[in-house]
Structures are given as structure tokens and as C-alpha cells.
Amino acid sequence: MNLFEYTRATSLGEAVAAAQKPGAAYLAGGTNLLDLMKGGIAAPAHLVDITRLPGLSAIERLPDGGTRIGALVRNSDLANDPDFAETYPMVAEALLSGASAQLRNAATAGGNLLQRTRCEYFYDPASPCNKRAPGAGCAAIGAATRIHAVQGWSEHCIATNPSDFCVPLAALSAIVEIAGPQGSRTVPLTAFHCLPGAQPERETALGAGELITALVLPPEAAAFARNARYLKVRDRTSYAFAVVSAAAALTLDAGRIVEGRLALGGIALKPWRVAEAEAALAGRRPTPETYAAAARLALAGAEPTGAANAFKVELARRVAARALALAAAGTPARMPALPASPFGLA
């Protein structure tokens, strides 16, 4: 790990000011950043510890019926908050399907949005990577691409976003609150992560010195509480990143879907939400044919990067369709023993 200067900020203004120094990075839970620093992938010259900032650790129900999640709320506290889990069950399920209990106890809501890809070549300083060293090339293309993208990738980068949490947040149209040297602003979560294009080193909408202060779920997100699931296919049943995942939520009335939400994880550098797929759910009967049609639209244009991840296109369609069927069957009364697992489904 490189040597760095350490500053413990006690106010938002102090944190933003300290982060103006060249090479500065914010430190919250540290579960990804310290790992990257130990691997030599990240080498901030200055760490600004924001864990003591006041006012960023609350889960608040807003007067309009929405919910504001402070950026420093720990993953485990959010997932286990009874009111939150009841109102946004697929968000809680996604959180509990990620990482381990120890990591969830340390990792924060804001930090989750900023975790870097788990591309093995990104993590290997000996491999060329356009994210780490723009212009160096991409070692992943044509190599072992089991966890790589089938949507939205470019010839410069085929990595995926590893977050579970972001998938249902995208489906529920969450808003990201940001503070920085120019004041505060908001960005929809679906516009927060950048697709690689020609600049894979640019990963999020955050500008220099900006930090996430909160995530806001809009009022309508609560309408899906009774029919919402997160389904995650992974190489181990627990403590593994998604190969493919899907967050599905429905509102139902008189045997018809009123509104459907669908987002996929593990297939692109951002949570993958397709308006046409959701439009194909509205007004339809909740049947396997409806789910399959929506799933096909969600994967429209999908292209594997090679033979090693060709299976993910069909797998993603099936996971999406099954997540919709599970959502239609109803949110389980209790969190499943194996959250988001296709095994032992409640």
C-alpha cells in the first residue's frame, strides 16, 4: 500500500475542502478501497475519512412517501431495518445476497455505488487495462470472460459493475444526492454509472472532489412492496458476485400487471434497465409468456464478447423471466434463508 496523508473530516465542508488536494480520495467503509490499495490498483496520495460526517447515517421516510438513505448507512443496517425491508424488499434482498456479514457491517450505501469492477484483469497490475492506464489496451477481451459484459461494452473495456444493491435501486428509479466544491446536485442512479465507450477510465457521474451524500427512493417506489424480488445466479450460493442477476417488481390489479420494473445485474458496466421491456409488462396478464417477452426485450441487442460469456445472454433472459414470475408470486413473508438464491426459494 502506498503512503498517504490521512485527514479525518468533521463536516461536509471540511471534507470537500480537504479533497481538493491532488490525488485525494474519500474513505468510508473502506472495504473496496483498502483492498484496491493493498493490490496497488488504487494509490491515493490523500485519504479523507468521512466516517464521522454528521447527518449521513440516517434512513428517513420523507413527507412525500419517499425514503432518503444517508450515504454512510451500513449495508447491514439498511437491509435489516424492518420498515425499509418491508417497503423495499428487493433492495434488502439484494443487499443481503452480497458479500459477507462482516463486509456488509462495514460497507456503506454510498460506497456501494462506487465499488470498482471485479474484472480479474483490472485487479492484476501486470495486465493491460484501459481503466487503470488509458490507452494500455484490454487484457480481458478474448480471455476468460465469464463475469464480463454482454450489454453496453466497447472495444476498450468489457467489464461489469459488481453491485447487487444498484440493480433494484435502478429499477426503483433511485436518485443520487451529490455534494462537492460547486455545491450539491442530484443524478438519477440510471445515469450515475458510465458505459465504457472510448473512456473506460471515466466510471461515474461524480466530478473531481464530489461525494455521494444520500440515495433517495421516490414515493412511487413503495408501491411495489408486495411483489418484488431480487434473483442472483452465482458460482457459490453465498458470498459470490453475480454472474447474472435481476430485480423485478410489479403492481397488480384484477389479474393484470399495472406497472412492471425490471433491471439486470452482471451483464453491463451499469445496472441494465430497458424501458421497452417494462412497457411490455404494463397491462398484460402475469404469465410466463409475458415475462419471456419482457426478458427478450431487456436483452435486445445483447452481444457476448466471446465464446466464454455467450451463455450469459440466454441465462440473463431466463433469470429476468424467473425474477418476474417470483415477483408475481409475491414477496416472501420473511427474508429467504438464502437471499436471492434460485435454490430453496421461499
Binding site: 503512503l3 498517504f4 490521512y6 472495504t31 483492498d35 451500513r74 456479514a101 462482516q102 462495514a106 438464502l338
Partner: protein, 163 residues
């Protein structure tokens, strides 16, 4: 650059001056405070051998900077027994052979103390396995570990002493 911090360590307040901001909680415990119960397995948050309880929550000590923990209350495996009386989780691991080589055991035990305290798993084997998935055992003593956690979860007054 030196960074002064104060920790409550296994019930005792301790003032510490860090001479390097890179010191993790795990390295502080093992290399500076002679508390070598928490183990350095992967040092990357993957194996759970370094699990300790900070402010009542089990975390990976290898992924926490000591500098950021000023004021924290830390419980390690060394603080679990009361004199010669083992903590119920320690006794349960003995009763059920919840280990072979023992390297992962302090982390397993601290994780189990945290799991029982969290109260989500009860004695359901599937929920215990899920809740303990952050602790790897290369000897494969999982069957004994599971039985130990189930027994400890039923022990009276089992987790109130966890910091």
C-alpha cells in the same frame, strides 16, 4: 505523521499513537498490541480469519484503518473468556470439534458471537451457514462449526457480554 487514537480494547481504554496511517486494525492488534488471536489469512477481506467485533459489529480487521477507529470499542478473541470460564461459543466449538488446525477458529468464533448477537439466524442451519459464509475453513470443519453455533445460539445469556 503521527495519529493519536483511543480505543476500548477488550474492556480496557488504551491510548495509542499510530506512526503510520496505513496500519490496519489487524496489524495494530497483532504487531503492536501483541493480540495475535485475530489471524492474517488473506489480508483482503475474503477469508474472515481476522474477524473482530467493533462497536458491536463483526468486521474484517484487515480492511479497517486503525486511524479511522478513534473511540471504537473492540472485542477480540482474547477478551471473550472470563478468566478460566470460556465463553459459550468457545465451549461449543470444543464440544463439537468446530476446528481442525485452528487457524480460522478465532475468526469463526468472533463471527459466531456476532451472528448470534445479530439475531437473524436463530438455530436454522441454512441461515447459520449463510450468516457464517464470510469465514472460510480450509480444513473443512464446517459440520462441527454449524453444530457449535446452533448449540451456542441456544445457550442462556450467550451474547450479552459481546461488546
Amino acid at each position: 505523521m503521527t495519529i493519536p487514537i483511543r480505543l476500548t480494547l477488550n474492556g480496557h481504554s488504551q491510548d495509542i499513537v499510530l506512526d503510520d496511517p496505513r496500519i490496519t486494525l489487524l496489524d495494530l492488534l497483532r504487531e503492536r498490541l501483541d493480540l495475535t488471536g485475530a489471524k492474517k489469512g488473506c489480508d483482503r477481506g475474503q477469508c474472515g480469519a481476522c474477524t473482530v467485533i467493533v462497536d458491536g459489529r463483526r468486521i474484517n480487521a484487515c480492511l479497517a484503518l486503525a486511524a479511522s477507529l478513534d473511540g471504537a470499542d473492540i472485542l477480540t478473541i482474547e477478551g471473550l473468556a472470563e478468566g478460566d470460564a470460556l465463553h459459550p461459543v468457545q465451549q461449543a466449538f470444543l464440544n463439537h470439534d468446530g476446528f481442525q488446525c485452528g487457524f480460522c477458529t478465532p475468526g469463526q468464533i468472533m463471527s459466531a458471537v456476532g451472528l448470534i448477537r445479530e439475531g437473524q439466524a436463530g438455530t436454522d442451519p441454512e441461515r447459520i451457514r449463510e450468516g457464517m459464509s464470510g469465514n472460510l475453513c480450509r480444513c473443512g470443519a464446517y459440520a462441527g462449526i454449524l453444530e457449535a453455533v446452533r448449540e451456542a445460539a441456544l445457550a442462556p445469556g450467550r451474547s450479552e457480554d459481546a461488546a
